[in-house]
């Protein structure tokens, strides 16, 4: 075990996978220079973790700014023997390759009756809350969740980042990895050895009795902080981090809600047709009888992301808004809680 950041864990998983299998290659814009620091512990050319030096230009490939062909070529390469990791940097750039994602990556295996398999990982980072403006702040995983054939991971901790990304690279199906930039610097003890966290298995980040909070990606630490604060108020909160959005560990969510009878979903994506909507709908359909209160969603409202911190700050789920929602479903006003 050693202390590792979320970003370091992302690098570590890729390092392991590159060393374990020659067919794994990485390509993307500015990956040679490791501009985003996501393929190594350090940025120095000399440090261990400098992928270009370790693996050479055949396997670490700078691409032109051509997202459509990056994604399509990765699909074609995956169908013919390589196992590419594509670094798409910002999640807001995925739209440029949407046709390739939906019509090729997600459909080819199915359409061709199983002739193809597509072992490929598409990594992208969600830069939100950082004053990068509307063109760089999206959290677009819900639209990909609506596309059958893709798997989607959204790790919230360094350990999960390493284990899920490694499992994603091992997967013979296409996986999109949505990484939360607000979490890049978070640290914890991480197993230095090789391990995988199976896709589709949620993590109970905190156990509790009164209410279940399903929290996604950057909302997980906020939910935990809310749970901590609510504990002092006498509300016992269980926090479930699905980690994988497709396939989603529906059972784990239902099990928790059947016990607590209450659900809040904290999701940094936009509200309408977001991940929170899906979790809510699953529970309203499959654990209705256990529900003792309305299901509350704490999401980013259906607004684009403004640049000014004075405007942006208020938009994402925070420990305060999550705690308020929990109080709400527990039938308590904030005033009562404070009293």
């Amino acid at each position: 075990m050693s202390q590792m950041t979320y970003l370091g864990a992302i690098g570590a998983a890729q390092l392991e996978a590159m060393q374990a299998d020659e067919r794994v290659i990485i390509f993307g814009e500015d990956v040679e220079a490791n501009v985003y620091g996501t393929t190594g512990a350090g940025k120095s050319r000399q440090a261990e973790g400098d992928f270009l030096q370790l693996f050479g230009r055949d396997r670490i490939r700078n691409t032109p700014i051509s997202e459509e062909v990056m994604v399509g070529a990765a699909a074609g390469a995956a169908m013919t023997g390589l196992r590419p990791i594509v670094d798409l940097s910002y999640s807001s750039f995925l739209y440029l390759a949407m046709d390739q994602f939906v019509n090729q990556v997600a459909k080819n295996r199915y359409m061709f009756g199983g002739q193809a398999s597509l072992p490929v990982v598409f990594r992208s980072a969600m830069f939100y809350g950082l004053s990068t403006g509307a063109h760089h702040s999206d959290r677009p995983y819900p639209m990909f969740m609506n596309v059958p054939g893709l798997k989607i991971i959204a790790p919230a901790t360094p350990s999960d980042a390493k284990g899920l990304l490694r499992a994603a690279i091992d997967s013979d199906d296409p996986v999109l990895s949505f990484e939360a930039v607000p979490l890049w610097g978070s640290k914890e003890e991480v197993d230095d050895g090789e391990y995988r966290i199976p896709l589709g298995v949620a993590r109970t980040a905190r156990e509790g009795e009164d209410v279940t909070v399903v929290a996604i990606s950057g909302a997980v630490p906020e939910a935990l902080a809310a749970a901590e604060a609510l504990g002092d108020e006498g509300i016992s909160v269980e926090v479930i981090d699905p980690r994988t959005l497709v396939p989603l560990d529906t059972e784990a969510i239902l099990r928790s809600v059947r016990r607590t009878g209450r659900l809040v979903v904290a999701d940094p994506a936009h509200r309408t047709c977001g991940a929170a909507a899906e979790v809510s709908a699953l529970v309203a359909e499959l654990a209705f009888d256990a529900l003792r209160a309305p299901i509350a969603r704490v999401t980013t409202p259906d607004m684009q992301i403004p640049f000014s911190p004075a405007l942006e700050r208020q938009l994402y789920p925070t420990r305060e808004t999550i705690a308020d929602a929990v109080r709400g479903v527990c039938g308590r006003s904030r005033e009562e809680a404070m009293a």
Partner: protein
């Protein structure tokens, strides 16, 4: 390039296969035996077969909605293709793909695409595998004149150019995209567009001549295999049928005189005459070849018609390799 007599006859055989397969499919659409529609390559056989026979059996290939010719040209067995058109369990894609999405990995066919232009990047990726895994394979990407206005083509040409990927970009310029004349929506000449990407771009003006197409594509494929990178080959041709079977447009978007002139240059008739003139085969042998192919197509049709439909649960397989994920999805 000098081809053996066997190779020349194989060209004619494959052109005939495409012709008769597509004519048969056309009939089956009319009879309601094929769900949806099909897009035939009738009239374009020389362009398809000339290209397919200029690459190796194990070379990669991607295609488009005008989809049967490519795998047939590449050597696919006809039965599973025809069964696929009928949505049968024995179809090459188990009935899941249909006419628009044929794929036959056994002959390097990585998939026809219903989305215009969308399979071109796939070919670039296959070429990357070939290069990095030292497979010595070329990727042949078929697309139409209409697709030549999709941005993805230029991204792919650029990527293949800088990485010297073994790709042959093959534009089937049949001069129309559905009802739209290429001349009205295409600025400049398609072949010339390669030059700005520092890629050879050649135009085969007589795409009804299977050998002309073959030679141009062979040169591009050889170049690619030598590690010198991609090429663009534009082939001028014409589709003899309507855009798709059953489609009827009131507009006469194709000039009658133009159509007649092209119809008079049937690639299969032209090549037959050439084979006769060059003494490659006698008329009887060519007749026999035609009969053989006709039987083959008939057998494929029978196979398709007699095959069972897939069981409904087949719809729920093959989304993921991983069955547990599929279960969750269903």
């Amino acid at each position: 390039m000098k081809l053996t007599n066997e190779e020349l006859l194989e060209m004619q055989r494959r052109m005939l296969r495409i012709r008769l397969f597509d004519e048969r499919a056309s009939k089956m659409v009319k009879r309601g035996q094929i769900p949806g529609t099909v897009h035939t390559s009738v009239g374009q056989e020389a362009q398809v077969v000339g290209a397919c026979m200029a690459v190796r059996a194990d070379d990669y290939m991607t295609g488009n909605h005008r989809s049967h010719g490519h795998p047939i040209g590449k050597g696919s067995a006809l039965g599973p293709l025809m069964a696929e058109l009928l949505g049968k369990a024995t179809g090459i894609c188990q009935g899941k793909g249909g006419s628009l999405h044929l794929a036959d990995f056994a002959v390097g066919s990585l998939g026809e695409s219903g989305i215009v232009g969308s399979s071109i990047p796939i070919a670039a990726g296959a070429a990357l595998s070939s290069k990095l895994l030292a497979q010595d394979r070329v990727a042949l990407a078929f697309f139409g004149d209409g697709a030549a206005n999709q941005g993805g083509l230029y991204e792919a040409m650029n990527l293949a150019g800088i990485w010297r990927l073994p790709v042959v970009f093959l534009c089937e310029n049949n001069q129309y995209a559905l009802s739209t004349p290429a001349a009205t929506v295409t600025s400049g000449r398609i072949a010339d567009r390669a030059h700005g990407f520092d890629i050879p771009g050649v135009r085969v003006d007589d795409g009804q001549d299977v050998l002309a197409v073959h030679d141009a594509v062979r040169e591009a494929a050889d170049r690619a295999r030598r590690g010198e990178g991609p090429s663009l080959v534009e082939v001028m041709t014409y589709r003899f049928h309507e855009h798709s079977e059953g489609l009827r447009l009131s507009t006469d978007y194709r000039d009658a005189a133009e159509r007649d002139a092209w119809l008079a240059r049937d690639p299969i008739t032209l090549f037959r005459e050439r084979l006769l003139a060059d003494g490659v085969a006698a008329a009887e042998a060519l007749d026999a070849l035609e009969a053989e192919v006709a039987d083959e197509v008939e057998a494929a049709a029978r196979f398709a018609l007699e095959s069972p439909l897939p069981e409904p649960e087949v719809a729920f397989a093959d989304l993921y390799t991983d069955p547990s994920a599929a279960e969750v999805a269903a």
